[in-house]
């Protein structure tokens, strides 16, 4: 078949292809967006957290039952949200990696793991501190607390798996086993979510929703600032860690090329 010497794609009449998921997930394009976005997300998050924290500590009334300890809500709920949201993102990224084999998806999953584990640990710690004055105990082996603790261990398992795969196949190599684990671990999320309904627990039931809440608006409003602030902060951290992984991968590839060149010329 004869091929035209003129590239029809240069013709304005030629329909431009819609950028595919692969094109948008190109590391160079990703870095061009991530570099300016990282400080914006990070500092916007910090500002919202500081404002929400200040408002929660000084501008809201104490709860009639929990008294001042209700103020722990403004940090406990965002840490729980990010602990669970982090794993949802790992599961989704892992699925994208398994289906489309795009390495950037696995890089995202790897970057989310440490911040996700940190926020899961902070959720457990702040919940435990909150439990002492309200429940009279630091810890209870009930459905919600135990399933959240399990999620923290699942995060540690994912981090260990990624490191093991790195050692076996080189930095950023492999990732399939960790991705399968990432998808399988998502089974914990509905267990955590519905644990307060399925089992008798000290932990209060679902009290905050997108459309309605059982918490008085006079107490609730700073939570939206800390929740959005911690989410932006988390996104900024994840971008920093994705940039780190990409830069390390690039440096390692350069070293490998140099080593190969030395071997060939020797």
């Amino acid at each position: 078949m004869a091929r035209s010497l003129v590239d029809s794609r240069a013709d304005p009449a030629y329909p431009r292809p819609v950028p595919s998921l692969h094109a948008l997930a190109n590391p160079a394009r990703f870095l061009a967006i991530a570099r300016p976005l990282t400080p914006v997300l990070f500092w916007a998050g910090v500002a919202l957290i500081l404002f929400g924290g200040w408002a929660g500590l000084t501008q809201t009334p104490p709860d009639y039952l929990q008294k001042d300890s209700v103020r722990i809500l403004y940090i406990h709920v965002p840490t729980a949200w990010l602990g669970m949201g982090g794993w949802s993102s790992i599961a989704l990224s892992s699925l994208v990696f398994l289906v489309w084999r795009h390495p950037l998806a696995m890089i995202a999953a790897r970057a989310i793991a440490a911040p996700g584990a940190t926020f899961a640990a902070l959720c457990l710690a702040t919940g435990s501190i909150w439990g002492r004055p309200t429940w009279g105990t630091w810890w209870q082996w009930d459905g919600r607390l135990t399933s959240m603790l399990l999620l923290f261990f699942v995060y540690l398992g994912f981090i260990a798996l990624v490191r093991a795969e790195d050692e076996r196949a080189g930095f950023g190599g492999g990732g399939r086993i960790a991705a399968l684990y990432g998808v399988a671990g998502s089974v914990l999320l509905p267990i955590i979510r519905y644990s307060v309904i399925w089992w008798n627990t000290l932990h209060q039931g679902q009290s905050i929703g997108l459309t309605k809440s059982t918490i008085d608006p006079a107490i609730l409003w700073p939570l939206w600032f800390t929740l959005s602030g911690f989410t932006l902060f988390f996104a900024g951290i994840v971008l920093m860690r994705m940039r780190t992984i990409l830069a390390r991968g690039k440096a390692e590839a350069r070293l490998r090329r140099r080593a190969h060149h030395v071997e060939v010329t020797a």
Binding site: G53, L57, A114, A125, I129, I237, R243, A247
Partner: protein, 34 residues
Amino acid sequence: MNHWPFIIAAYGLTAAGSVALAAWSYIAMRRAEK
């Protein structure tokens, strides 16, 4: 029971954890991108 020591402990722990995570991620990024 005075609740404020518990509130300060929870906020302090979250602040320390978040600052440590941010510092660790930022330093690692700067070193890798150098």
